[in-house]
């Protein structure tokens, strides 16, 4: 039976559920089912012996906004540090009181550091009485976690009663008993439960454990994270702040579903020989027209403006754009009609002439001829 094992090998008992429980040497994390994508990375961290602070950093690295709830618990000696967020409840029992924490009462999170905790119960979902599985470390779906394990009959186990049954041992009025005769009293009650059969020792995890003498977590001094900066500093009319950058994260202008083109490339992808005699390398966006304009570019990607004569005004002021292609067009140039009045005709070698559709980029083959009207043509060659 497992009771011969030292307590470290069966630190807690759990009831199965939907949340992810990640239990390690130094810290444990509970995450809601929606946060599945984070679980693997956190498990790796926790299993490598990451401390409370390190795990908290990892949890918050992408911000608090998209993390609806979590529980983080230190597993080291000394005071129990806990952080709760979202619809989770935790109850801690010390020698003379019971402390209940509810993550949903705070907008950000609830954090406590508790001395002398003898027993803890964390509930993340409704967990009907039932199978209690004991577990040392590992990654498992849970609804409720109790530490020390229910019905673990090593001397250190106390307060086996779960707080939602008769309650004869709970409540601040009745201090949680120290290991002693009372234990015997409670034991029969839990006995009927399906016996916590020698829980298959959490699979390969124990081996993966680092040396138990892993480096101690950083001193608790600086562990409290600063609240996220907020608020708007403003004065008068114009002001800054108070908006969410993610809200406005939108696709780059360009073709939906296609990566935005690299605006400036190291080596030109094509050379344009313009009938007016000019030659232009395509290593960035090139705008061609009667009086071309470049709009809303960043300082590092200033486009090249090429002015072509148009005595009959057939060519539009900003007629077309040639730029290095991206995605499937990577390595070649693409041409886009910028909504010109009289349109653009493209003749590619071996293909019939085509009218460019405004705003639709077309890949250019060396040898292609672009006709802007008014006798102006652009020949595309290799750089």
């Amino acid at each position: 039976m497992t009771e011969t094992e030292p307590t470290a090998a069966s630190r807690r008992s759990i009831r199965p559920g939907g949340w992810f429980g990640i239990f390690g040497e130094q810290a444990s994390v509970l995450l809601p089912p929606s946060e599945k994508r984070r679980v693997a990375a956190l498990w790796e961290l926790v299993d490598d012996g990451a401390g409370f602070d390190e795990v908290l950093d990892a949890l918050l690295s992408s911000g608090l906004r998209d993390l609806p709830g979590f529980v983080l618990l230190s597993e080291t000696e000394g005071p129990v540090k806990v952080v709760l967020r979202g619809p989770v409840k935790a109850t801690f029992y010390t020698a003379d009181e019971e402390i209940s924490l509810d993550g949903s009462v705070a907008a950000t999170w609830v954090e406590r550091s508790l001395e002398g905790v003898t027993r803890s119960v964390i509930e993340v979902e409704d967990a009907p009485e039932g199978d209690e599985l004991t577990l040392a470390a590992g990654l498992v779906r849970v609804a409720r976690v109790e530490d020390p394990p229910v019905s673990a009959d090593t001397g250190s186990a106390v307060g086996v009663e779960s707080e939602d049954s008769t309650g004869f041992e709970t409540g601040p009025a009745e201090p949680a008993p120290e290991p002693g005769p009372e234990l015997e009293e409670t034991e029969p009650e839990t006995e009927p439960l399906p016996p916590p059969e020698p829980m298959p020792e959490p699979t390969p995890e124990p081996e993966a454990h680092p040396d138990p003498a892993a480096p101690a977590p950083p001193a608790p001094g600086g562990w409290a994270p600063a609240p996220p900066p907020g608020g708007s500093e403003h004065d008068g009319m114009t002001r800054a702040g108070d908006w969410d950058p993610l809200e406005f994260a939108r696709q780059q202008p360009g073709i939906p579903g296609q990566q935005p083109a690299p605006s400036v490339v190291a080596k030109p992808v094509a050379r344009l020989v313009i009938s007016s005699g000019e030659t232009v390398e395509v290593d960035r966006a090139v705008l061609v027209g009667r009086a071309p304009e470049a709009r809303r570019f960043t300082s590092s990607e200033q486009p090249r403006l090429v002015t072509v004569p148009s005595p009959n005004q057939e060519i539009s002021s900003t007629h077309l754009e040639v730029r290095p292609g991206s995605g499937a067009d990577h390595g070649s140039a693409v041409v886009t009609d910028m909504g010109s009045t009289n349109g653009t005709v493209l003749v590619q070698p071996g293909l019939p002439p085509e009218d460019l559709q405004p705003g639709i980029a077309v890949q250019l083959i060396p040898g292609a001829i672009i006709d802007l009207g008014d006798g102006v043509t652009i020949q595309v060659t290799n750089p």
Partner: protein, 273 residues
């Protein structure tokens, strides 16, 4: 580079409500700047002045007109770090909640591909308009919450003037926000008249009124005065600054006649084979 002759006028007013004018401007060819500071006394006014001081360098020194957007970006970056540095000093002297930021709009005459052009840049919600052929067009795109909402299709352009967050900028120099500017490069011929203004102008009078003033008033100095006066008449709830620039002519250094002759006199006279 061929010289560009410009006429310009600039006016700034504290408005009817505010105590401090936190707007600053620079109107000195080849560079024109309007900066709208935020943060209150010895905050926003200092921030906007720092921007002006940085860009004044373009006036005094022989700046390379071909530097383009990268040169402007460098000055904006320097202004940004000076504002942040100033902020650190202020906070060290006890003003814990001290904050200052500023918008900036810049119009710089540059040489691109051997031709003079307007390089325009904006950070925040101050604006650059161009007036050509009797039509007013807003060139810069505001870095503001409402503009983002319009772009996203969340609200209609008509609702902007009444939106509660219409004064919230999403980019500013010196603030916690992104300070990267957007740039625009326009040929001189497409711009008869440029207007750089703080939101004390376009927030108080609509584009039709601005177009009317720019179309009616010939002298750019009078046009700037009239725009600020109109903003004050409409309530003057914010500092109002307008800079109006007209390109009146290109003075070419190399006159056509002085182009080097490819045929020597000896050739012409038949003295050489």
């Amino acid at each position: 580079m061929s010289k560009v002759e410009v006429h310009y006028g600039a006016t700034s007013d504290v408005g009817r409500v505010r105590q401090v004018n936190e707007d600053s401007y620079l109107a000195s060819p080849p560079v024109f700047v309007v900066a709208d500071g935020m943060g209150g006394h010895s905050g926003g006014d200092v921030a906007s002045r720092i921007v002006i001081e940085e860009f004044a360098e373009l006036v005094d020194s022989a700046h390379d007109p071909r530097g383009g957007a990268a040169a402007v970006a460098e000055l904006l970056e320097r202004a940004q770090s000076r504002i942040n540095q100033y902020g650190i000093e202020q906070r060290l002297t006890g003003a814990e909640k001290w904050y200052a930021g500023t918008t900036a709009v810049v119009a710089l005459l540059v040489e691109d591909d051997g031709v003079p052009k307007w390089l325009l840049a904006n950070v925040g919600d101050s604006r650059i308009y161009r007036f050509s052929d009797g039509a007013l067009e807003q060139v810069s795109v505001d870095h503001s919450v409402v503009q983002e909402l319009v772009d996203a299709g969340t609200i209609a352009a008509d609702d902007v003037a009444s939106h509660p967050e219409r004064h919230v900028v999403t980019r500013a120099l010196g603030g916690p926000d992104d300070a990267e500017a957007d740039y625009f490069l326009l040929p001189l011929v497409s711009v008869e008249r440029l207007l750089l203004c703080s939101d004390g102008i376009n927030g108080m009078i609509d584009d039709d009124t601005i177009a009317e003033v720019l179309g009616d008033v010939g002298d750019p100095r009078d046009a700037a005065d009239r725009l600020v006066a109109a903003a004050l008449d409409a309530g003057g709830r914010d500092n109002a600054t307008a800079v109006v620039v007209d390109v009146v002519g290109l003075l070419s250094d190399d006159a056509y006649d002085s182009a080097p002759l490819h045929v020597s006199l000896e050739h012409k006279l038949g003295a050489l084979p």
